[in-house]
Amino acid sequence: MKKLLLTGIFSVFLLGYLFAQSRTISGTVTSSEDKATLPGVNVVAKGTNVGVVTDIEGKYKLSVPAGVTKLVFTFVGFVTQEVEIGNREMIDLALEADTKQLSEVVVVGYGTQKKADITGNIASVSGKEVQNLPVTSFEGALQGRAAGVFIEQGNGKLGQAMKMRIRGASSVSASNQPLFVIDGIPVTSQSQSGSGADTNPLADLNFNDVESFEVLKDAASAAIYGARAANGVVLITTKKGKAGKTKVSINALSGVSNPTRRREFLNAEQYLSFYTEALTNAGFDQAEIDDFFGFYAVDTDFKKREVETNWQNEIFKKNAGFNQLDVSLNGGTDKTKFYLSTSSLDQNGILVGNRFQRQSIRLNLDHSITDKLKIGLNMNFVRSYNRRLAPDNEFSSPMQIVALPPITPVRKKTGQLVDETDGLPYYNPLVELENAYYKTTSFRTFTNSYLSYEITKGLTARGEFGFDMLNQNEDRFQGTVTQAGRGAGGTGVGTSRIVQVLNYTTKAYLNYNKTLSKHAIDITGGMEFQRSQTDRTESQGQGITVDQLQKLVSAPKITSGSSELTGFAFLSYFARANYKFNNRYLVSATVRYDGSTRFGETNRFGTFPSISAGWIISEEGFMKSIKPTLSFLKIKGSYGLTGNAEIGNFSQLPLYNGVGYAEIGGIRPNQLGNPNLKWEKTTQVDLGLEFGLFEDRISGDVTYFQKDTRDLLLNIPIAGTNGFATQFKNIGAMKNWGWEIGINSNNLVGELKWNTSLNMTFPQNQVTDLGGLPIIDTGGSRYMNVAQVGQPIGAFLGVEYRGVDPKNGDALYDLNDGSGATTTSFNTAFRNAKILGNPNPTFYGGITNNFSYKGFDLSIFFQWVSGNQIHNAAGLFMSSSGYYEDNQTTDQLRRWQKEGDITDIPKATYFGGNGFAGRISRHLSDGSYLRLKTLTLGYNVPSNFLKKISLETVRFYVTGQNLLTFTKYTGWDPEVNTDFLATNIFQGVDFYAAPQSKTVTIGLNIGF
């Protein structure tokens, strides 16, 4: 009994002890997303003010007072979580990132703004979304990911210029590329290439360093960039350091690339029979025919069918390697934070001889001198190297190899490559690849620094200074046996070209924001100055007799040399005021006053205002009842004026240039001046609706836009009898309008997560005035793109091909005179030439589906372009009924051969000219495509396992780029625009352009 009593007393005592005493609970807090430990998380016993902050390893230890049953974990950027203690002593927790909160702040011109408060139209893509994609430049990664943003890589050659159109093309003669701003500095984005193939200076940026991309689409968001905002503005913000334990992230990526598609050409047997027919039809006798083939067979006997060459095999690399390694560190204290990264990319092109390498180091540093005074510096040093190929229209371009006959051996019996000097119809590009190089090396520095000072609460002054230095060296050598070398009397030709672009920006501005009860204002104003100076030096020499001596130092004959300095400057003043009332009524106005050296004395400065307003309807009292369903609803509208200044630096001046005759210096009139030259003006209306359903499980937006551009900076054709072909004038107008739709949906939110995001754009473009001219047509006989009033820019003008006369195999052209009759004369038909198609898509978009389950994640991204046509201008050679001796595409097998044949391919006649015309619908086809752009499958190793090896995250992933393409286009790839021709007007033209690459990579990401 006593024993029992004692036990009872002890038990009560013990219970009392338990109840009366606080408990100690410990654990580790991690981020659910990357399993990284989170330092600085507030852990509070609910209902008390007892709490601790997690240490540098995310660990905490807390004495919980008696009676407390829950712990509350809070951390900026993460969803606050309450956890039942129960009888646990150890509580580990993974915090969910608050994605809504993160995306709430958006970078805008000269500042940031809460997403819900934005009245303009900004497409935001987080850096994370495009991280580690196996592409060279960020534009390639952004393709299809934002509504209203059309991106096209015209060619599969690496590091080449990309087309980016934000809400269409607004200009005929000035650039239609957006303004690119990296960390506040407008950067050099124009090609500095010395060859006909433009390169992309933006490929110098390692986009894994990017935190976010913001595309300013409408006037309200872009007009603060005034004279250069008509094509939209792309703001690129790089990653910043975060206080806490230094985190290391290592990412290794490795894979292979292959061409997306191949084109089918005749084999040796087919070639022989096709050309025997074509030559016979041209009146050649058997001896002449044998002679013809004999030459192309070089030292082999075509009659014995000794050779079967598939030339595409010779230029497409099999499994071209892709390797990238990124190491980044991120950390710091409350006062000083840093982000440091190094990256190395080595990408082999799908074409032999094409390679791109990039090494990049970045340091982003932020330091608080005092609570009010902050200073920061972003520095990025990059070396990029591009082993380049000739432009598409040169015989030395690898893709032109397909013109060579399949009966020709690659090498002669001596082992030497066959060449045109052996009787080939054309130069063999392999000779160029083996005996020449064309290397472009760039050293790039993106730097910007800032100093900001909070003068009083809410009033901050900020000064920034930054520069973008581009040093590009193009080094080319063409050996003694190359085409260029033969032209130099069988000696080597060397070229050296150096371009330095120093581009710097300084700015100072004030920001004031204040909230007074229901009124919130945010005002920004300041000035900016930018100056860019380009220094070019080029020289060429020949006479090199030893192929190993490849630099100009060995060239006894310097054949040309030149240097030039050019530049421009912008001086700008800008201001913005945002006003919000009662969290639901939003008004904003911006203005920029811009001056540029590019314009005439009389029109040097221009003013670019915008206004916008929004109404968050869902904040209204009357919406309360339906708020669970319609969780967010906002309507907004904007109107404003933006400009385009992207013309040459001195287009307004009446200039004479230096020339030479017989090595005596002279001058010649070079361009007509125009003292009144000024900005091209675009007014834009934007009407949008944003919504969220079911507590924002589904969110989206619908926008209508209309851009009206007038006073086009048009290099307008004038009567050539004046001595000039064109003059730059502010004349003409163009219009873009359309719809943009974006939808995000969290379809499943449990352990198996599935979300979908969809964006769609329906753009229209129309040239409305060309200064009284009905049309600008510089297509000549080969190309069809024109600017014609009432039509989209670049529309294809030509003659409708009506097939083949079954009687005689003649090609028939539509007369287009209303009679429905046809003619065999292209010239006659061309008198009534009509618009045959449009190179601009009328519908494009992308859809991403992300799935995650436990450690696995899967992302499937499709992108499409529709409603556009492609003109295969090379059809004139490769699908031309044997006009030339080029190998033909297999469609020529169904040519007309005898009376009664019903076909669309005319009778083959060597140099016959039957159906041989550039501007006919015969070579035009539907350019729509749907592409499985990116497929990523990843696996995150569980954190409890990783802890044992002191790692925070380990992720394995496989990424496929351009895995599947669905299209009716029979060429290499429907995403095409040949490089040597590409302009605002010349679009959608295929001329031996390299196909896109299909890349599969495996990656490993380690964090600790």
Binding site: D291, F295, D419, E420, T421, L451, I455, A461, G463, F465, R486, G487, A488, T506, M527, F529, R531, K557, T559, S560, L565, T566, F568, A569, L571, G595, T597, R604, F650, P654, L655, Y656, G658, V659, G660, Y661, A662, G666, I667, R668, P669, N670, L672, G673, P717, I718, A719, G720, T721, N722, G723, F724, Q727, L773, I775, D777, G780, F826, N827, L876
Partner: protein, 455 residues
């Protein structure tokens, strides 16, 4: 507050970086000068004259395309004397006589010719700036260039001169005043008549001959103008004037026939036979005759292939026949006249042509100004290694054949066919397809122009 002032000063120093270079004034083109400076001095106008020669001998003019077009128009795809083997569609259309109004070569010929005319018009309008002692020469050279270009234009875009119809036949717009670059006003002129263009050509060249000195380096001198004048008169079948002009070139003995025909071509300096040649150096100009006529083995494109029907025209033993060569790679035969793409001059007028012109005119007129026609013809024949002809054997056909072979692939053929009423295959010399279309881009930008017949 004191603490704050420190930071504000810091801030101001930082921002002073900004303001210091906010200027525009020093941003000026380095590759060009403004018009008012360009036309301000004697030296500059003379530099402009060098620029005029640069334009006149540019790729699209005497740098090769003028002559290429004349030869391709004269080539007959059916007779197969030559064949265009190139992939450039535009010259291909010229050869097959299927030119489109959008033909790029037609518009390039037009634009570049008028561009060059504008240069010389600018010189002529600013002669008062030139030092008095050199003014006549500068004027003479400018007039020579202008007259020569109009001569090419009217032959390319207009009908053959005919004394009865040329008043009404459309030539090309006649522009004799320069465009002001700084205060430009676009002019949209009509096509002047063929006769009016020839009147201008004769006036320009006649005055040029009068003004120019007898010696002027490789630039135009008195004899160059006279030689061009003889071509113009010959084109108009004004044989006496053509003969006399040719005689004015030959008689003073400034030029001599080279001993060997082969020595006449592919020279980096003018020879004693060259009256006028486009100067091509490694640095300046391109020899596009070699680009198109030259074989690939010498760095050309090998585009113009010479075929048997042409080769068969030469008599046995003709050195000019032996002058053709076969590209061992392609097996194509090419003329040996154009074998240096980079540095050889392009012969424009050789003394041989003056002998041929004088002979033809003397023969037609039954005169012997300077020399009897047989003597002139035999000079050409014996130099080519052929036997001399007896006076009795000389016929007009023989003279014309001699001219065809001597000047083959030098850009004269179609013009000779047209003036002698010949044929190109099945086409009569007056076939509208032997004339270029007025470029489509020009018609579209100048509504006052009328398109040629057949286009």
């Amino acid at each position: 507050m004191i603490k704050n002032i420190k930071y504000i000063v810091f801030m101001l120093v930082f921002c002073s970086l900004l303001a210091c270079e906010s200027q525009f004034e020093d941003i000026k083109p380095t590759a060009g000068i403004e018009e008012k400076i360009a036309l301000s001095s004697d030296k500059n106008i003379k530099s402009l004259l060098v620029g005029a020669y640069d334009a006149f001998t540019g790729s699209r003019l005497l740098g090769g395309y003028y002559q290429l077009h004349a030869e391709l128009l004269a080539g007959d795809p059916v007779a197969r004397d030559i064949r265009w083997r190139g992939t450039f569609a535009d010259p291909g259309e010229v050869f097959t006589k299927t030119m489109l109004v959008t033909n790029g070569d037609a518009s390039a010929a037009w634009l570049n010719s008028y561009n060059a005319i504008n240069v010389v018009n600018t010189i002529l309008a600013n002669l008062s700036t030139v030092n008095e002692q050199e003014r006549a020469t500068v004027e003479g050279e400018a007039l020579f260039i202008r007259g020569s270009i109009y001569f090419e234009l009217v032959r390319l875009f207009g009908k053959q001169y005919n004394v009865n119809t040329s008043q009404n036949d459309l030539g090309v717009p006649l522009v004799t005043t320069p465009a002001s670059l700084a205060n430009f006003v676009e002019a949209k002129p009509n096509r002047a008549s063929v006769a009016a263009i020839y009147t201008q050509i004769l006036a320009d060249l006649t005055k040029a001959e009068e003004l120019l000195p007898t010696s002027n380096g490789f630039y135009a001198n008195k004899f160059v103008a006279a030689a061009m004048l003889s071509r113009v008169y010959l084109q108009r079948s004004e044989f006496a004037a053509a003969r006399d002009a040719a005689n004015r070139v030959i008689r003073p003995g400034s030029y001599t026939l080279l001993v060997d025909y082969a020595f006449c071509f592919n020279n980096i300096k003018n020879t004693v036979e060259d009256i006028f040649a486009a100067q091509i150096t490694v640095q300046d100009g391109v020899n596009n005759m070699s680009t198109f006529f030259g074989g690939r083995n010498i760095g050309g494109r090998g585009d113009v292939q010479v075929l048997a029907p042409h080769l068969n025209l030469y008599e046995t033993g003709d050195a000019r026949r032996a002058f053709f060569y076969t590209d061992p790679g392609t097996g194509r035969i090419h003329t040996g006249k154009w074998k240096d793409v980079v540095a050889a001059n392009i012969n424009i007028i050789r003394l041989a042509e003056m002998y041929l012109t004088r002979a033809e005119c003397n023969f037609r007129l039954n005169t012997s100004v300077g020399a009897p026609p047989v003597e002139d013809i035999n000079r050409i024949r014996t130099r080519a290694g052929l036997r001399a002809l007896a006076t009795a054997d000389l016929t007009l056909d023989r003279i014309l054949r001699e001219r065809q072979l001597e000047l083959a692939f030098e850009g004269q053929r179609i013009h000779d066919i047209k003036r002698t009423g010949g044929r190109v295959g099945s086409r009569n010399f007056s076939d509208p397809k032997l004339i270029f279309p007025i470029p489509d881009r020009e018609i579209k930008s100048n509504a006052n122009l009328t398109q040629n017949e057949g286009y």
